[in-house]
Symmetry: C2
Subunit: 438 residues, 2 copies
């Protein structure tokens, strides 16, 4: 057996701690499978004295990430600190510049600095592995980067945030409001104290930015993603969706179109009975459509210490199995200097079906006025349902649900502007895009 | 750019032909992504003059596989001939012994000779890649061999044969008989002229044998798999399943139990609304349960020239990205000489729920007699349904459906022996195991 691979772990939160435990507990199995021992030789974290339920005996404590990243006793620097800038950014950069492979779970860092870091890794002949950064335990990075090398990807999409999927699942199953489900998710540890980043879609967008780059060979562009969170989704939407044969999921979707890359994160209606509709709770799923393989879907735990540690450990084992100095596949699937600029397709050109829920003043001519506004934009309607929810005793209000055939975002926006200007609306219209994956 | 990787392809059927076309058409993209060119330099097939719609100009024709496998102009030998023995076996062995990496789609060959071939590959420091051998375009081999290195797998299971899944899907959707659907599948090219190997479960068993070895580190043991095909599944079963909230799928399942490895291929009831129940038509799916990651599922095209060529091309690209002489991960996930013997758990100790469909003489005391036989074996019943199908006008016959709570295969077999001995049965009882994946 050749000499052992020495791991330095920066950040001992849930995932970092789970990773230390995993490497310690499975020492023998990992050595057998990788052909060499893997050992944690250094760690750093915010608090040295916190009891994490793991033994740090024999592991060198570093007071800052940079010291660990450049330590002579470390072959692989594992970054589990999080955050798009310091101290993670400098530590990862220093590690690569000191000839160390890097494994990271930090999607925010890669979304912002991924191309630069990948370039450094390639120039130094090092691996920059980030399986744990997207969709937790689902090995989507390896599949896109390696298995699909001979494919031209046309679309990548999925449920990439467990918190949002948990909330939407609970809302449907238990008839609870968004606020009630969020509170419940926070109590169960599925949502942060400040959940903004999850529920507004930013976390999904970071992951989608990485998948988009891998899919299309474009520079990572998190700011080119159209963003809508799930805060405006109501029980009425969920019930109407179910009645019409749909379920609401927060999706991240990137498609190659004639006008560029259409990248978007928003709640979407998916057909009941489709695989993606059955992804419940904190589970994530990613679907890839590509010219040669066709459609692939992967689902699994999108978060959690052990599942994410499993992904990071897989990355470490890949490094352990390879000999120093050998040629690696590039971090972003192709050399970083061959990535093309990300040309953003305008959201108004998005084509698809739409679910629209309006509450209107229930007077004669209202339905005709709405239908006229749709017709003006050449929008063809698949169904119109007038519903009364249990809570509406006021007979002057009537909720109306429209399902459109394929049209454009621009047409829908124009039509809704028209409906607004007719003055019969109560509140704002709800508009949810319909998606069929796979 | 370093020198090109030279590919020799033996077998120009659907997959071999698709692979040649793929490598030719995507020459530039593959060179960019892999850092070196990939070119087909030699081929062999049964008939030299057949028009396959691809150009073989500039590619050396070999009259036999062995000549191609040992050619000085080939770095990677791609075996697409099929068959568990000659000529595939000797050709692959010769290729490895001549220092060539091997890529194969041949599950039958690997199920029989995989451990020996993996040993040779490891001794020579060569890659033996077989992504295309299991579940077509789904990259399950890479995921199990690489991504899950730090996991102890407890169960691997899935829909591994597109022909059977197509037939079962058509039976349910269109109310056709098994024979009608098989004929239809043959006309559409989804089933062979002699479909025995697919419909009796042997093809699923070969794939499961490889997954079992990867999952548990046991020697490949295709003969240790309990086998039942789908030929005895009737429309009555499918309809009864749907009424009770299930769908019938042919599954391959390997579980680690206290008594050894329980490996089985048989039709199974899966709950409607689960991901696996939504896998329709020729699509395949594989679910893995493991200690660290939890549950993963992957679905995609299980067959087809392009999808399978995509998997083989991914294997070739992995070789192209690595430098000759570097250390590879072992073909079976751990060194072949560390595989443990496959200890087969007896099928009679299998524990689970059961669906039982009986046709009985409809006389007083029949239901009591059946219930007594179940009670004698401590089998607790979840539901009993007495159905009348449209075709049964004879009032003396009554179909009865039982769903049991968890019990053992032995108890069920004993109970059915008891029911048989009571002499009220018309025909043989149908027994289908209930499975919950993920």
């Amino acid at each position: 057996m050749s000499n052992s691979l020495r791991i330095g772990i920066a950040g001992l939160g849930t995932v970092g701690t789970a990773l230390v435990r995993l490497i310690q507990e499975k020492q023998e199995m990992l050595a057998d499978r990788c052909g060499r021992a893997i050992s944690v030789t250094g760690v750093t974290a915010r608090s040295r004295n916190k009891d994490r339920g793991i033994s740090l005996d024999g592991i060198t404590w570093h007071d800052d990430a940079n010291s660990l990243a450049t330590s002579k006793d470390v072959d692989v620097f594992v970054e589990m600190m999080g955050g798009e800038d310091e101290p993670a950014y400098s530590a990862v950069k220093s590690a690569l510049q000191s000839g160390k492979h890097v494994v990271t779970a930090n999607k925010a860092l890669l979304a912002k600095h991924g191309v630069e870091l990948a370039s450094i890794a390639e120039a130094e002949g090092l691996l920059l592995n980030y399986e744990a950064a997207v969709a937790g335990g689902i090995p989507i990075i390896k599949v896109m980067r390696e298995s699909l090398t001979a494919n031209t990807v046309t679309r990548v999409s999925g449920i990439l945030n467990g918190t949002c999927n948990y909330i939407l699942t609970r809302m449907e199953q238990d008839g609870l409001t968004f606020e009630e489900c969020l509170k419940d998710a926070q109590e169960l540890g599925f949502a942060e104290a400040d959940p903004t980043f999850d529920i507004e879609g930013n976390d999904t967008a970071h992951k989608l930015a990485l998948l988009t780059s891998l899919a299309f060979g474009t520079a990572i562009a998190p700011d080119a993603i159209y963003l809508e969170g799930i805060t405006k989704i109501t029980i009425e939407d969920i019930e109407a969706a179910r009645d019409l044969g749909f379920r609401i999921k927060l999706l991240g979707i990137a498609t190659r179109t004639a006008e560029g890359v259409e990248s978007r994160v928003h709640p979407a209606m998916v057909p009941l009975g489709s695989e993606i509709a059955e992804i419940g709770g904190v589970t994530n799923a990613v679907a890839v459509e590509a010219d040669t393989v066709g459609s692939l879907m992967m689902s699994g735990p999108g978060a959690g210490g052990d599942a994410t540690a499993s992904a990071a450990a897989g990355d470490i084992c890949d490094i352990a199995k390879s000999r120093p100095g050998h040629q690696h596949g590039p971090a972003l699937g192709q050399p970083a200097n061959t990535l093309t600029p990300h040309e953003r397709a305008p959201m108004r050109s998005h084509a698809g079906g739409y679910f629209i829920r309006l509450t209107v003043v229930d007077t004669p001519g209202t339905m005709a006025a709405i239908a006229t506004r749709m017709a003006e934009q050449d929008i063809s309607l698949e169904s119109i349902v007038q519903r009364r929810t249990k809570d509406h005793d006021d007979i002057e209000q009537a909720p109306i649900i429209l399902i459109t055939h394929e049209t454009t975002e621009q047409a829908i926006r124009n039509a809704l502007d028209g409906v607004r200007s007719d003055g019969r609306l109560i509140g704002e219209p709800q508009m949810i895009r319909i998606e069929t994956l796979g």
